[in-house]
C-alpha cells in the first residue's frame, strides 16, 4: 500500500502546528465567504495570491484548499435560510432547504447539509488519494459528444423540477436558455442579445439570476402580500439538529450524492452544478415522501445535492493534481499559485512534489473535520435569523442580495439586471411559473449548445458521433429509458391494476 505510506507522510506534513493554523484560517475564511453571496472561493484565492511570496508552498496550498472546501460548506447556509444562494453549486439546495426552513426545520436542513458535506468531502478526498489515476482516465474519455449526451440525460432528469404544469415549466426553462445565451458566443466570437452593451459581452452571472429570481422576487412577493396574508414566524419544530427519522432519510442521499458528484467533478467540463441537478432528480424519484418536495421541503432534496457538490469539489482536484488540468475557476487560480513558486503543475507533479501534494490531500481530511466541528454549533446561531420578523428579515435579504451582487463584478449594470430579474421573479411567482427551471436552462442550455457544436465541428458535421461512441450511446440510452421508462412502467401498472376489473363474470 504505497498510497497509505504517502498519505501517512502527508499527515506528518499537515499536522505541523503552523499548517494546522493555516488550515483553520482557511476553513473559517472559506465558510465566511461561502455565506456571502458574490464573493466566491475563486475571487478570494485570487486576492490572497500575494501570500505566495511570503509563506512556504505547503502552507499556502493548505490555506487555499481550506477556503475552497469551506466555501462549499458555507454556501448552503444562505441558500437554506434566505433563499439566496451564495455559490452556483448551492442553487439546488435552496429549492428544498428554504422550504424546510420555512416549515420550522431549518436546523435539520443545515445539519444534513453540513454532515452530508463532511461525508461527501471525506469520501471525495479518499477518492482523490486512492482512485485519482483511474478516475482521470475515465474523465478524459469524455469528449464533446459524450458531454452533449450527458446534457441530454440531465435535461431529461430536470423534468423533476419543472413543477406541476409542464407548459409553465418549459416556458421557464426556455427563458433560461435565452438568458444563458446573452454574451459573446464562444464558438464564433460574435455577441448575442447584448444590445450593444459591452458589460453584457461576458454574459449574465448565474448567481445574479438566482439571487434576483429567488431572493428579490420572493421579497417583492412578500411585500405585495404583506397585509393580505398572515405574518407568522414559524417556530423551530422538534430538535435543533436531525431527528432519527431524518438521519435515516439522509444517509442514502449522502452516499448517492457523493457517487454522482465525484466522477462528474473530475470531468474537465463536468462542474459542480450538473451533479446537484442529477442528485436532486434522483432523490425526488426515489423518495418515499414525494409530497414533501416543493411543499414543506424534503430533507433528501438537501442531503443529496449538498453531498454531490462537495464530492464534485474533491473531484475537481483529481485532474488538477494528476495532470495539472484546471477544470474550474478556483483550480485555475490555484495552479497559477503553483507557478509563482516556480512549480509547474503537470503530470509529473505527484512525483516531483510528493510532499506538497500529499500534504495537501492530508490537510483536506483535516479541513473536513474542522469544518463539520465549526459548522454544527453555528447552526444554533443561524436559525435565530429565522426569528427576525418578516419585514426586517426581507429588508435584510434585499440588502444582502444587493451587496453580494455588486461584489461579483463591481458593476452597476449587474444591479440593474438583479432588480429586473427580481421583478420578473415576482411576476413568475404571482402567475405560478416555477423559477428553478430558469436557472437550470441557463446553466445547461449553453453547455449543451457548446458541446453539440464542438462535437459537430470535430466530426465535420457527421451526426453518427453521438451513437457511435459507446459512452455517448450509453448515456443517450439512459436518457431514453428515463424519458419513456416511467410511461411504460405506469402503463404496465395500470394494466395490472385494471386487469381483473375488466374480466366480466370473473369472481
Amino acid at each position: 500500500m504505497e498510497t497509505l505510506g504517502h498519505l501517512a507522510h502527508g499527515f506528518s506534513v499537515a499536522f505541523s502546528p503552523i499548517n494546522l493554523i493555516w488550515c483553520l484560517v482557511g476553513t473559517t475564511l472559506g465558510t465566511a465567504i461561502g455565506v456571502l453571496p458574490g464573493l466566491g472561493p475563486a475571487l478570494t484565492i485570487a486576492l490572497l495570491l500575494p501570500i505566495t511570496y511570503q509563506v512556504a508552498p505547503e502552507a499556502s496550498f493548505i490555506l487555499f484548499a481550506g477556503i475552497y472546501y469551506g466555501a462549499m460548506y458555507g454556501g448552503s447556509t444562505t441558500s437554506i435560510l434566505l433563499n439566496t444562494p451564495g455559490e452556483s453549486a448551492t442553487i439546488v439546495t435552496a429549492l428544498e432547504g428554504n422550504r424546510m426552513a420555512r416549515s420550522g426545520r431549518g436546523g435539520a436542513a443545515l445539519a444534513t447539509s453540513a454532515i452530508g458535506s463532511f461525508v461527501a468531502g471525506t469520501l471525495g478526498t479518499i477518492g482523490v488519494a486512492f482512485l485519482a489515476p483511474i478516475v482521470v482516465k475515465f474523465a478524459l474519455a469524455f469528449g464533446p459528444a459524450e458531454y452533449f449526451s450527458l446534457m441530454v440525460l440531465a435535461f431529461i432528469t430536470v423534468s423533476a423540477v419543472l413543477g406541476s404544469s409542464s407548459v409553465r415549466g418549459l416556458t421557464s426553462l426556455f427563458a433560461g436558455f435565452v438568458v444563458g445565451m446573452i454574451g459573446v458566443d464562444l464558438q464564433t466570437g460574435q455577441p448575442r442579445f447584448t444590445f450593444g452593451m459591452s458589460e453584457l459581452l461576458d454574459g449574465v452571472d448565474v448567481i445574479v439570476v438566482a439571487v434576483g429570481l429567488f431572493a428579490v422576487g420572493e421579497t417583492l412577493y412578500m411585500a405585495s402580500r404583506r397585509y393580505a396574508g398572515k405574518d407568522d414566524i414559524v417556530p423551530l419544530k422538534g430538535s435543533l439538529y436531525m431527528t432519527a427519522a431524518e438521519w435515516s432519510r439522509s444517509w442514502r442521499p449522502w452516499l448517492r450524492g457523493s457517487l454522482i458528484g465525484f466522477p462528474i467533478g473530475a470531468m474537465p467540463a463536468g462542474g459542480a452544478e450538473i451533479p446537484t441537478f442529477l442528485s436532486y432528480a434522483i432523490e425526488k424519484k426515489l423518495s418515499r415522501h414525494k409530497d414533501e418536495f416543493g411543499t414543506v421541503g424534503a430533507i433528501e432534496g438537501v442531503a443529496g445535492p449538498e453531498a454531490a457538490n462537495n464530492a464534485s469539489a474533491a473531484g475537481v482536484l483529481v485532474p488538477m493534481l494528476t495532470l495539472g488540468l484546471p477544470t474550474s475557476a478556483t483550480a485555475a487560480i490555484m495552479l497559477s499559485a503553483f507557478q509563482s513558486y516556480g512549480i509547474n503543475p503537470g503530470p509529473l507533479l505527484l512525483t516531483t512534489q510528493a510532499d506538497l501534494v500529499w500534504g495537501l490531500i492530508a490537510s483536506l481530511f483535516i479541513a473536513n473535520v474542522i469544518l463539520v466541528v465549526l459548522n454544527l454549533p453555528l447552526i444554533g446561531l443561524w436559525v435565530r435569523l429565522l426569528k427576525i420578523p418578516a419585514p426586517q428579515l426581507y429588508a435584510g435579504i434585499l440588502v444582502f442580495a444587493t451587496v453580494g451582487t455588486y461584489g461579483i463584478s463591481q458593476s452597476p449594470i449587474d444591479l440593474v439586471i438583479l432588480y429586473l430579474l427580481g421583478a420578473a421573479g415576482f411576476l413568475m411567482r404571482r402567475f405560478d411559473f416555477p423559477t428553478a427551471p430558469v436557472i437550470i436552462g441557463m446553466i445547461l442550455g449553453p453547455l449543451a449548445e457548446t458541446q453539440f457544436r464542438r462535437a459537430m465541428t470535430i466530426s465535420n458535421g457527421d451526426w453518427t458521433v453521438f451513437y457511435k461512441h459507446p459512452l455517448s450511446l450509453t448515456l443517450l440510452t439512459l436518457a431514453f429509458i428515463g424519458l419513456v421508462g416511467p410511461h411504460i412502467w405506469a402503463y404496465i401498472e395500470h394494466r395490472r391494476m385494471r386487469g381483473p376489473e375488466h374480466v366480466p363474470g370473473d369472481a
Binding site: P144, L186, L201, P319, N344, G346, Q410, S411, N460
Partner: protein
C-alpha cells in the same frame, strides 16, 4: 471597482519604504512613490499576474513605495478600457496592463475606445505559442500537419482558446501562409485552461494551439508531441523548431505591456519608461519571468507605439479573414 490594499505585506512594505528613504533613492522614485496599476481583467489571469509581479519586483527593488491594483474585468479588457481612458486621464503615476488579447477584443467587439487613445510605455513580456499533437497522432513534424491541412482542412480539427483569441489568430496566420483559406478551417474553441488540453489528451482533436506554458509539462511527460513554436528563434531547453524553421513563415508572441493614461506630461511619460526599463533589467524580474514561462521582449516608447499599430493592423486583417471582424 476592486481595490487591493497590500495589507498582507504592510509590515514588509513599510520596512522597504523605510530603507528606500534612508538609502539610495532613484530620481523617479520620488515622482512615483505610489504606483496605481489598472488591470482590465479579473484577479488571477495573465494581466493580473503581470501587475502583481510588477508590484512585487518594483517594491523589492525599492523603486516604488507600494502600489494599488484596480481590477475592472470583462470582454477581453474592453469594459475596463473606457474607464481608464476617461476616468484616469492625466494621472502621471498610473499604468494599465494590456496586450494582444485586448487588441483582438477591441476589433472583434467593435469597441468605442482603442489603444491609440492611451500612452504606450513598454511592451514587457510575451508568451510564444506552441503547435502540439497527441502522442498517438500520425503527425510527426509540422510538415505532416501542414500537408494534412492542405489536403482537407475540415479533417484537421484544432483545439485552442476562445474564438478570435491569440490561438485562433495564430491558426489563421498559419493557414494563410501555407495557402489554405481561413474560412475552411475546423477550429474548436475552448474556454481555455484545462479544457482544450483535456481534449488533446483524450485524443478528441487532431492538434492544439496555445501558449507554450499550457502544454510544457505534458510535452515533458510525453503525453503531447511538440511540432513547432511561434517564437522568433530556438528556445533553450525546448526541443522543437520555430514555425519559420519548419517552413511556416509565421512569428507570434502573445505580448503583454503597459500603457499610461491619455494626457500625461512628457516628463511623467519619460519617468515611467525609465522606471519600467529599470524594473525589466532587474534580476528579480528575470526570475519572475522564468517562473511563469514569460519571454522578455522589452520595447519602449515610440518603438512600442509603432509595434502596437502594426500588430493592430495584422490582427485586424486576420480576424477579417476568419470572419470575426
Amino acid at each position: 471597482m476592486l481595490n487591493r490594499r497590500r495589507f498582507l505585506m504592510s509590515t514588509a512594505a513599510a520596512g522597504a519604504a523605510g530603507l528606500a528613504a534612508s538609502h539610495f533613492i532613484p530620481a523617479f522614485a520620488q515622482d512615483a512613490p505610489q504606483l496605481q496599476i489598472f488591470v482590465p481583467a479579473a484577479p488571477g489571469g495573465g494581466w493580473d499576474q503581470t501587475a502583481r509581479a510588477m508590484d512585487q519586483v518594483l517594491r523589492s527593488e525599492k523603486l516604488i513605495s507600494g502600489s494599488q491594483i484596480t481590477n475592472v474585468g470583462g470582454a477581453g479588457g474592453t469594459v475596463g478600457l473606457p474607464q481608464f481612458v476617461n476616468q484616469w486621464k492625466g494621472k502621471g503615476n498610473a499604468l494599465m496592463v494590456a496586450g494582444m488579447v485586448m487588441v483582438g477584443a477591441i476589433i472583434a467587439n467593435k469597441a468605442a475606445n482603442d489603444l491609440t487613445e492611451v500612452t504606450p510605455i513598454a511592451r514587457l513580456t510575451g508568451e510564444f505559442e506552441a503547435l502540439v499533437v497527441p502522442a498517438a497522432s500520425p503527425f510527426k513534424t509540422a510538415a505532416d500537419f501542414v500537408a494534412a491541412l492542405k489536403a482537407d482542412p475540415t479533417q484537421v480539427p484544432v483545439a485552442g482558446g476562445s474564438a478570435g483569441g491569440s490561438d485562433h489568430i495564430l491558426f489563421g496566420l498559419i493557414a494563410k501562409t501555407v495557402g489554405v483559406p481561413a474560412t475552411n478551417l475546423s477550429y474548436v474553441p475552448f474556454a481555455g485552461g484545462g479544457e482544450a488540453l483535456s481534449a488533446l489528451l483524450g485524443n478528441q482533436v487532431a492538434a492544439g494551439i496555445s501558449g507554450y506554458g499550457e502544454f510544457a509539462e505534458q510535452v515533458k511527460a510525453g503525453a503531447l508531441r511538440l511540432l513547432a513554436i511561434s517564437a522568433d528563434k530556438r528556445q533553450e531547453g525546448i526541443d522543437a523548431p520555430t514555425m519559420k524553421e519548419a517552413g511556416i513563415d509565421v512569428e507570434l508572441f502573445n505580448w503583454r505591456g503597459v500603457f499610461a493614461p491619455p494626457g500625461v506630461s512628457d516628463a511623467d511619460k519619460a519617468a515611467m519608461i525609465k522606471l519600467i526599463e529599470t524594473m525589466a533589467k532587474s534580476d528579480a524580474w528575470a526570475t519572475e519571468c522564468k517562473n511563469r514561462n514569460w519571454t522578455q521582449i522589452l520595447l519602449t516608447g515610440d518603438d512600442y507605439a509603432k509595434f502596437v499599430a502594426e500588430d493592430t493592423a495584422r490582427i485586424g486583417t486576420i480576424l477579417k479573414d476568419l470572419g470575426l471582424a
